[in-house]
């Protein structure tokens, strides 16, 4: 019987593999992988980016020998990243299909200087939209920008990928790499800044118990997963063993 394999984004010449999860540091990792492959950061002029990124299908044994990981993010922070980037972000980043839907069926405040209350209403509106999309049962694939992080945990656990936290990604990645990725620290330095969405207001100012409870309702298992990974790293000082 053929051994099962998992396809992951990988560096071309180094034992570096990760499971992509959108809105969970994927742009940072993509840029980092590019630097590991090319020795320099990508520029917008390079037409082959990001298609030049490499992927490999590896067995559990192969993945465990190499630096193989997935990243988790606090669901609250992930939701606001979606909101600031894809809903009220710059026109080139914004998902018009979402704003159109919110405008037509729900509430959507637009403009350069929204009040905190308007942002809160937009967030509740977006969460309502996500609730519908996450409950879809007509066979349509859930958009990976808002799908539950736990939906890919089965593969990560089966193939022994190490869980890292987005907010501590750089030191944790260096720790699990154990010197096996040549130039990793320098490459991180070259990826100048993470792909942070511009934020007109602070999350803490927009977050209300109502918004928080709604996020918890939509992403209960992601809250658990994040809690387990965070507690595990804090207590053990290394990636915890997540059991599903």
């Amino acid at each position: 019987m053929t051994e099962r394999r998992l396809t992951l984004t990988s560096a071309r010449h180094q034992p570096f593999n990760y499971l992509v999860s959108l809105k969970v540091g994927s742009t940072f990792l993509r840029n980092l992988t590019y630097v590991l492959d090319h020795g320099k950061p990508y520029s917008q002029q390079e037409a082959d980016y990001p298609k030049s990124l490499h992927s490999r299908a590896l067995t559990r044994e192969e993945l465990m020998r190499e630096v193989s990981f997935f990243v988790v993010r606090d669901p609250v922070s992930r939701f606001f990243s979606l909101y600031f980037d894809k809903v009220v972000g710059t026109p080139e980043n914004r998902f018009e299909f979402i704003t159109e839907k919110l405008r037509t069926h729900r509430i959507f405040h637009e403009g350069p200087e929204l009040t905190l209350e308007q942002h809160r209403e937009n967030c509740m509106s977006l969460l309502g939209f996500l609730g519908v999309r996450l409950r879809r049962n007509n066979g349509q694939k859930i958009n990976p920008h808002w799908s539950q992080q736990i939906s890919r945990l089965g593969a990560a656990v089966e193939f022994g990928l190490k869980p890292l936290m987005l907010e501590k990604l750089e030191p944790q990645l260096l720790q699990i790499a154990e010197g096996r990725i040549e130039g990793l620290e320098a490459a991180m330095g070259m990826v100048k800044s993470r792909n942070r969405s511009p934020r007109p207001v602070e999350i803490e100012d927009v977050l209300t118990p109502k918004v928080y409870n709604k996020i918890v309702t939509l992403y209960p298992a992601d809250i658990q997963l994040y809690d387990l990974v965070k507690t595990g790293w804090e207590v053990l000082g290394h990636p915890p063993d997540i059991k599903l």
């Binding site: 309502g128 209960p220 507690t231």
Partner: protein
């Protein structure tokens, strides 16, 4: 004169503080895998909340296995190990007494989801009935 007791008040600061300390200690015990019950060996457990009785003698611990399945079985397995857990908690907790631990499945997520479902039922139907405009796909990634 003794103060009149207000029985409808919520938990006091000390109850909340001790409850949170126990929640933290239990989460750490589970993270370190310090329990050796085979039924708990293959499950990751989160502690949603610990509610203390007013006299701090009983701690009701709301637990949930990752993904939420078999919550009742897990809480029963933890109850079987409560002697060992109580010992470990008391060792870490800097208080003179040793609260009794009672484990229950954390139903918060289920209850919130159900409330949400009921509140949004009409809206869901309405929203699902209307066609979407074209939904762009994200950049191709090997795992998507």
């Amino acid at each position: 004169m003794a103060k009149k007791q207000n029985t409808s008040r919520g938990p006091g600061q000390r109850q909340l503080r001790v409850g949170e300390s126990i929640r933290r200690i239990l989460s750490e015990i589970f993270a370190r895998g310090e329990l050796h019950d085979p039924e708990l060996a293959h499950v990751s457990i989160t502690v949603g909340e610990v509610r203390m009785s007013p006299d701090l003698s009983v701690a009701t611990v709301y637990v949930l296995p990752l993904g939420g399945e078999n919550a009742l079985e897990v809480s029963r397995a933890l109850a079987r190990n409560k002697g060992e857990l109580r010992h470990l908690v008391t060792k870490e907790l800097n208080i003179r007494f040793s609260p009794d631990l009672r484990f229950l499945p954390d139903l918060t997520f289920d209850q919130m989801a159900e409330t949400e479902r009921l509140l949004n039922l009409d809206r869901v139907k309405q929203d699902l009935a209307k066609p979407d405009i074209a939904e762009p796909q994200p950049d191709p990634e090997p795992n998507d």
